[in-house]
Symmetry: C2
Subunit: 150 residues, 2 copies
Amino acid sequence: MKQQQKDAYDKLKLKSQLCFPLYACSKEVIRHYKPLLDELDLTYTQYITMMVLWEKKSLCVNALGEELYLDSGTLTPLLKKLEKKGYLTRCRCDNDERSVKICITEEGEKLKEKAASIPEKMESCVKLSEKESAFLYRILYRMLEQLNPS
Amino acid sequence: MKQQQKDAYDKLKLKSQLCFPLYACSKEVIRHYKPLLDELDLTYTQYITMMVLWEKKSLCVNALGEELYLDSGTLTPLLKKLEKKGYLTRCRCDNDERSVKICITEEGEKLKEKAASIPEKMESCVKLSEKESAFLYRILYRMLEQLNPS
DNA sequence: TACAATTAGATTGTATGCAATTTGATTGTA
DNA sequence: TACAATCAAATTGCATACAATCTAATTGTA
């Protein structure tokens, strides 16, 4: 076998890939959120959706999708569930009937208090130094920008 | 509002969290694999499953799940699909009828040749320096180890 | 050796994710 | 102003993920 082909095969190993630890790590982190989010009766995707709403109060589905890297196929049913729980409202925009505006409710605002302790609790699961966190953060956002230039 | 509560709320912002870019990045990377994997008629999860088999040739569902951080609920239907495609066989172990042994087929081995160019193509999507890749790799595996000590 | 406890996969049910398509509203332009 | 092109959500279909439960095999031990 040629050296070149051997190199190509080496790169096909799970342990040679960056994509795999990224994928596995993401899932493991989300798994660790679960018991904390269960107390709020939220899934992880519902949680990050609420995070955007806690900050922005109100925005269109489209904009929400860009923030979260999710499309309407995922968001529509998810937003309906959060609406049913009473955390947000969905209504067509007055000025553009194509768009749907999502607004946080008082119930939704109240949930923020219960969620406030979660980030701290999660941090304690993963022991990274200040420097490592900052590096990881920067590099992931740079990758995101490269993969999905917005 | 107390400073402490303000800090807690700041940490609730999407941009303050490490979990979010991890989650988004993982999805974006997988999305970038799609056109390459479409040519092989594999999904991403099927691809990483084949990566393990290209390396190990044969192992039990259990061991496969530990490698991939997936459980039988995900693996069983996925392995049935790959079996139907002819890339692997599933059969109960002789010495322990509870276990199912997965073996790669010749068809499965042949697929490796077609997949060999994928890692290189993916690398070109994300421009990280040698140093950055190595750092990211180390930190992700360390996190994995912390989150799921095996 | 009985038999409770454990283990490996399979199954069930719920919630994403996302590509592709559809529906209805808006925009650009001949 | 007609009307094609575009756009925003919603819908459909398929493939994960994973917790919880179930089934069958194996193991530990009284």
